[in-house]
Amino acid sequence: MPTRPEKVYFFGTCLIDLCYPQAGMAGIELLQRQGIQVVYPQSQSCCGQPAYNSGFPDEARKVARQQLKAFAKDYPIIIPSGSCGGMLKHHYPKLFADQPEAAEARRFADRVFEWSEFLVKALDLKLEDRGPPTKVTWHSSCSALREMKVIEYAKSLLRQLQNVELIELQRERECCGFGGSFSVKQADISSAMVADKVADIEQTGAAAVLSGDYGCLMHIGGALKHRNSPIPAKHVAEFLLERTQ
């Protein structure tokens, strides 16, 4: 990982782009605050994972090719999602393995870094907490945990906040049941899984649940809202910005 590069690309992810842009802006702002020039290619879109995991690799490749083009320069690509990050970093090389872009996809993958990992490893980010005392809990997305292996970075940032108590879930390593199309194709199983996740979150007594992935947050947040729980589900970037402004 490059130490303090001058410029970085920001890959917003389609979910943040369309539904949760404030999380993307928070991610960008925290990078800028460190003196990093952020480039947001307007020609970016989705990483292609929805099609890739649903059984449509050709369509996924078509969309992935657009991202190779949009992020063509040699800047690090910072992404506020373990799931979409995993797609770019670990699956693009497989998706393009027998394509003319094979080498390009591998080089692209090498430039991809999950947002919290980049803040800690490349920028050694130091945070000063300016918020009132609060308790939060953390949901590890499966891809951030197992594919990108970046959970400790986000948590280490949270632990820098003096007035924030991080209460861990009993089953932190268990999937929330989102799984993209799984959440609607296997809605019954998915609902059973998220019900357990929500119960786990509620037993912590935390004022908010944080994560580094909006797929899970949309799912968990949606389930909390469905049962009229006051606990918000928030991206860690938004939370860190709020606390340090």
């Binding site: 369309l18 842009p21 449509f56 050709d58 497989k94 499966c142 049941g177 799984f182 809605a187 609902s191």
Partner: protein, 479 residues
């Protein structure tokens, strides 16, 4: 396996609604998971060990045809009679021929998933032959006329109270007791008599060593040893993938198997069967047979990606760590092999039309891969099966009934999605449109995927200004 299409949605709903089942499963899976973690407490050592396990299994599969021939030759030299079965029907015919030749009617069985795969018990029952399961878990579910719900712990869906009730009702003159030791003693008493009366013993095989012609059998109750030594005839059945090259390949695999399955350093019994009773020996079967079952495995083997499926050593730890299996149990999957391994193996054997839906019962959370002792890329294979479900193009390695799901609606949807996401101006326009209709969405009638989502989750709303727009407004560079 079964010819009847499994009604997955109905099965899943039923399992999810069974509170007792879910409590039993959760408790059992937690215990098994904890035991495994305790044994493999050093992640680095575990990675080394499983890299070795993976290498052993890959080396065996690379030379599978040669190793099977060597196994046959060595077994034959040792006096074990080898039979090849391409289909379950072929395997059952071999069983029947041997049983009838000995005029036998009483078969005692050690635990074997391959015998479940060929539905041996049902086949024999229809021909008036009693096949008694002697593994405690298998015995319990046989009393209940059920099939195994887990590949290692077949009665894991039941708790102690349910077993107490079952024994009291199904075994004559059995007083009700919930004391585990007493329940064990009851089963032991019934089974002891059956062991002595058994005319044919049936077992599975955990590893077959090509170098020496040795059949290895892992078990905890001693019933496997009884089944393979007490009756005059022993018939072992294995899938062709269970062969390993050398004797020295066994210890690391055994360590991985028992550690992953039950968190044991080693099982109470480990049997190495190398021949029938030799002249002058006082015990052991007079005949030993080995049935090598293909049942679609050669086809799986032919594809370099799918071949990884065959590395499996059937430890069942992927089931124990699967958040989906933990909530459903094995019966809901409707086939012999449930959970993550079942979801990649079954559709390849049975075909995608009936079993392909199993590949959709995963969030790709990767918990299974994290613990797999032979590093099977389970999510990649699940994804491959999803792709094959839509892919009508025939290749030599296409999975049976590929393309069964192909339909104009989904094809068009994904094509449209790809076009929009690969064309920046269309993407910008659609983001804007979604921003406009977004706030109205919750007011629309819930149908299709919106309805599925809404059963337990509030709908997200599209932002009026996308991140693209906000970034532009804030002057974030676009290069």
């Amino acid at each position: 396996m079964t010819e009847i299409a499994v009604d997955f949605p109905k099965n899943f709903k039923k399992a999810l609604g069974d509170g007792q089942l879910r409590r039993n499963l959760r408790a059992a899976m937690d215990t098994l998971g904890l035991r495994r973690r305790t044994l493999f407490s050093d992640p680095e050592l575990f990675e080394q060990l499983r890299a070795r396990g993976d290498a052993i299994r890959q080396r065996a599969l690379r030379q599978l045809p040669e190793l099977l021939e060597r196994l046959e030759q060595k077994c034959t030299e040792n006096g074990i009679q080898v039979h090849w079965a391409e289909t379950p029907a072929d395997a059952n015919a071999v069983f029947l021929e041997i049983i009838q030749r000995h005029h036998a009617t009483r078969v005692i069985k050690g635990k074997s998933m391959v015998s479940e795969e060929v539905h041996l018990n049902h086949f024999l029952h229809e021909r008036g032959i009693e096949a008694l399961e002697t593994d405690l878990g298998e015995y319990i579910i046989q009393l209940e006329h059920e099939t195994p719900s887990h590949i290692i712990v077949p009665a894991i869906h039941k708790n102690r109270d349910q077993i107490a009730k079952l024994f009291h009702e199904k075994i004559p003159n059995t007083p009700y007791t919930e004391v585990v030791e007493e329940l064990n003693a009851i089963a032991r008493q019934v089974l002891r008599e059956k062991f002595f009366a058994g005319e044919i013993g049936v077992s599975g095989v955990n590893f077959a060593v090509a170098e020496t012609g040795t059949l290895c059998l892992v078990e905890n109750e001693g019933n496997g040893r009884m089944c393979t030594t007490a009756p005059p005839v022993h018939i072992a059945i294995m899938g062709i993938e269970k062969v390993v090259e050398r004797l020295e390949d066994v210890p690391p695999l055994l360590r991985l198997l028992t550690g992953s399955a039950t968190g044991q350093l080693i099982t109470t019994y480990f049997n190495m069967i190398s021949s029938p009773r030799k002249p002058g020996e006082k015990d052991g079967p007079k005949e030993v047979h080995l049935i090598l079952l293909d049942n679609g495995r050669s086809k799986i083997w032919a594809d370099p990606e799918l071949r990884h499926t065959l590395k499996c050593i059937r430890c069942g730890t992927c089931l124990n760590h699967c958040p989906v299996y933990t909530r459903l149990g094995g019966h809901a999957y409707g086939y012999v092999y449930p959970g993550p391994i079942g979801s990649i193996l079954t559709p390849q054997i049975e075909g995608l039309k009936n079993a392909g839906a199993m590949a959709t019962a995963s969030t790709f959370c990767g918990a299974c891969e994290e613990v797999c002792p032979v590093k099977i890329p389970i999510t990649d294979i699940l994804r491959r099966l999803r792709t094959e479900s839509y892919d009508k193009d025939e290749t030599p390695n296409s999975v049976k009934e590929h393309g069964y799901k192909s339909n104009a609606t989904e094809n068009m949807t994904w094509k449209g999605w790809a076009f929009s996401n690969a064309t920046p101006w269309i993407n910008a326009v659609s983001a804007k449109l979604l921003g406009l209709v977004g706030p109205q969405l919750p007011k629309l009638p819930a149908v299709g995927i919106v309805k599925q989502w809404s059963q337990s989750r509030a709908l997200p709303s599209f932002a009026t200004k996308s991140l693209h727009v906000l970034a532009k407004e804030k002057g974030i560079a676009d290069e």
